[in-house]
């Protein structure tokens, strides 16, 4: 609306280019002050808090604020808060812990944290293990026993961990030095047969007496294994090193010597119990 009475025509800056003039719509002065305040604020902030970078570190700020120190404090506070639960957990029988609702929550959450920190490197974040020597902890097959006490023993003292006196060893001979190539082939077919896999029945029949003579002392006559010796069950559907002929021949020829560290000393007694019960409740515990 053109308006002859309009008196609020804005001032002009006085700039004019080819007849085009520029209006001067001044900003409010408080806006400028707000800008100055932000500068002052920023300077004060850099004095109070860590800010200016140096060669080795930044200026620490006179408030002594540090996110790292905050985290350390929080961790300290949490472990102090959990001290009572830790003491209770160590005093309680492993079998009774899950009946105590507070402890059950504590070991499930705490055990998960311990597992992800120390165990996940080999057994995987989801505890599914890796075919090729790292057991799956979710299934119902246990190389060294799946009761709470047996799981605790394995975690606390490890497998084949020589610095721990209570560690356990499985002693499978390398049958490549004892059996001929043909015999190894036959016994592999027999193992495939009792494991319910595709196999050569004639060859397996040849393997049966070889198995009875050489393997049954640890794996049992029927091949169901013995957790006290760390001898795996060969009749189930779970194969730690895979179920192909190549992997099985290698096992028979050279034997397998899986290693797990002993965690006593590196983890507290409470942590050992937490991770034991966590692993036990993952779905396979006996």
């Amino acid at each position: 609306m053109a308006d002859k009475n309009n008196t609020s025509e804005p001032d002009k800056t006085g700039h004019s280019w080819d007849g085009i003039e520029e209006y001067n719509n001044p900003l409010p002065r408080w806006w400028l002050w707000t800008f100055y305040v932000t500068i002052v604020w920023a300077l004060i902030y850099t004095i109070l808090y860590p800010a200016w970078p140096g060669i080795n570190s930044a200026t620490p700020g006179i408030l002594g604020y540090s996110t790292r120190a905050n985290v350390a404090e929080e961790i300290e506070a949490v472990s102090e808060a959990n001290a009572g639960l830790d003491a209770r957990l160590v005093e309680t029988e492993l079998g009774e812990v899950m009946a105590d609702a507070d402890l059950a929550r504590y070991v499930t959450a705490g055990g998960a944290a311990v597992f992800r920190t120390y165990c996940a490197q080999c057994h995987g974040a989801g505890a599914a293990g890796v075919v090729g020597g790292y057991p799956n902890l979710l299934d119902d097959d246990w190389l060294w026993g799946g009761t709470k006490e047996e799981v605790y023993q394995t975690i606390a003292h490890g497998i084949r961990w020589e610095t721990d006196d209570d560690t356990r060893y499985s002693e499978m001979p390398a049958f490549g030095e004892v059996l001929s190539s043909a015999e190894v082939k036959s016994v592999v077919e027999f193992v495939l047969q009792i494991g319910g896999e595709d196999h050569d029945a004639d060859r397996a029949a040849l393997g049966a007496p070889i198995f009875a003579d050489n393997c049954a002392s640890c794996h049992g006559d029927a091949g169901i294994g013995d957790p006290s010796l760390g001898a795996p069950n060969l009749t189930d559907a779970i194969w730690l090193y895979g179920s192909d002929r190549e992997a099985l021949s290698a096992t028979v020829r050279y034997a397998r010597f899986g290693i797990m560290p002993a965690w006593t000393g590196r983890l507290t007694e409470s942590q050992l119990r937490q991770v034991t019960l966590y692993v036990h409740q993952l779905g396979g515990g006996e």
Partner: protein
């Protein structure tokens, strides 16, 4: 590029100080309406947290409560859980479309009548007028130097403002905790720091925005005035000056001048400090106080009311050509506003339906992905699921889980041999669930098969379900 003009003597100022505004008292129908709206909106704001609402023993008895720690929102008989936030999102969309609707029909009616900035500024101006007098007295006081009287009036005014500001900041925190308990805690200095901090910040903003910034907030800080221009059209009713009737303005001489006697009444009452006779402006919040002021003058000089009026641009053109303005309902009931109303109402109906078909029990299922399946020693395939069960009742309930699927799959719960689980009152409960397929079933070797997990409330037989998939060993 050449400068064709000499550089002026004084360089132009890039920053301008705020021009003080001294709105004059006015009475009339719009002023009366605004007093009512101010009373009602302020009452809603200050009093709502104090309304009690009985929900049973385990739940809070505050009618409107945002329980941030417990992650619940209570609104009278409605209780909203975090996963139902879409209801709040729907309300926000309705608020947005409502603004479209009102702006298309009535211009900046939100700004003029109900915006908190307008309401509190109006309240602060009211207090200012009580203490320091009306426009002329305030201008005199502003011009005078600081003597005892000025200090007394100023300090009285600032104290009154501060009390309102504290009450405003204080009322806010009561929406987030049990109001009577929090009030006692605040007074005995036992309330959490965040409560004091919130009150402090909101007190400061209320005091500064209502007392000193006022129209600066609308003009320089608020994005809404910039957006609203796109939502208004020539059929939008907005506060306008009937220029063809008023001009030329000046002392009243029959046949020589228009109806505007240039008394400045409209300018003197304006809280934004503008002259409505300059036409529609960014600064105008359409509070309509100039209409009241001008109608009063028109009555006194014996001219018809409505020199300043709610008017559309199209009517202005029509009237200038000698026609009559179209009736108001024709401006309001048109395609655009009806479309907005239809969308607004459709979302509203949708929300109400969503609210009423909400189940009292609920579950969500998250399949375990690492690993997606586990082979058991007998060759069967097992999948794990995190099932979150929600019990919205005020008492503990026993839930039973079951599945339906193509193949006869087995369901089992972690930690219990039964399929039943107790879920505490008004809470959600995580339960790990295992589903197992025998090795000879198709599901065991199929990469995916559909599974439906059911939950049944054993108290009243209510059922809910969630669909998920079972992963087999397809290699």
């Amino acid at each position: 590029m050449t400068t064709s003009q000499p550089i002026p003597q004084e360089p132009p100022q890039l920053y301008a100080a705020r021009e003080p505004i001294f709105p004059k008292r006015v009475s009339g129908k719009f002023r009366a309406l605004k007093w009512w709206i101010m009373g009602v909106t302020l009452a809603i704001y200050y009093l709502t947290p104090w309304i009690r609402w009985d929900r049973g023993p385990n739940l809070p008895d505050q009618a409107v409560l945002v329980d941030l720690a417990g992650r619940r929102f209570y609104f009278f008989w409605i209780e909203i859980w975090p996963h139902e936030f879409y209801l709040v999102a729907g309300l926000l969309i309705m608020a947005g479309i409502g603004l479209f609707l009102f702006t298309a029909a009535l211009g900046r009616v939100w700004c003029g009548y109900t915006c908190p900035q307008t309401v509190w500024t109006d309240l602060f101006i009211l207090v200012e007028r009580w203490i320091e007098g009306d426009r002329n007295a305030r201008i005199r006081l502003w011009r005078s130097s600081y003597d005892l009287k000025k200090w007394r009036l100023r300090l009285t005014k600032w104290t009154a403002w501060l009390l309102i500001a504290i009450a405003t900041g204080g009322a806010w925190v009561f929406y987030f905790a049990d109001a009577p308990t929090l009030l006692v805690n605040l007074l005995t200095l036992e309330a959490p720091f965040v409560a004091y901090a919130s009150i402090g910040v909101l007190t400061a903003t209320t005091f500064v925005f209502g007392g000193f910034m006022r129209e600066q907030v609308c003009i320089y800080m608020c994005p809404w005035p910039r957006i609203q221009a796109a939502m208004m059209d020539e059929e939008t009713l907005t506060v306008s000056y009937r220029e063809h009737r008023g001009e030329p303005r000046g002392k009243k001489h029959e046949n020589r001048t228009g109806d505007c006697i240039d008394c400045m009444a409209c300018v003197n009452v304006c809280p934004m400090g503008i002259d409505i006779r300059d036409g529609q402006q960014l600064e105008c919040i359409t509070c309509a106080l100039c209409i009241d002021a001008c109608d009063d003058i028109m009555d006194k000089i014996g001219k018809p009311r409505g020199l300043i009026d709610y008017l559309t641009l199209s009517d202005q053109v029509r009237e200038e050509a000698g026609g009559a303005p179209r009736p108001i309902w024709q401006h309001i009931l048109r395609l655009r506003t009806m479309i907005y109303t239809a969308i607004w109402a459709a979302i509203g109906v949708g929300l109400v339906v969503a609210l009423f078909i909400r189940p009292e029990i609920d579950l969500t299922v998250a399949p375990e992905r690492n690993p997606i399946f586990v082979t058991l020693s007998d060759g069967s395939i097992r999948n794990a699921y995190e099932v979150r069960l929600r019990n919205k009742h005020g008492d503990e309930r026993e839930f039973r889980l079951s599945i339906t699927s193509q193949d006869p799959l087995r369901i089992g719960l972690q930690g219990t041999p039964t399929l039943r689980v107790m879920v505490p009152a008004d809470s959600s409960f995580n339960q790990r669930v295992y589903i197992t397929a025998r090795s000879d079933l198709e599901a065991a070797s199929q990469s995916q098969s559909d599974v439906r997990i059911w939950v049944e409330d054993m108290t009243n037989g209510d059922r809910a379900h969630a669909d998920t998939v079972f992963h087999g060993d397809s290699q």
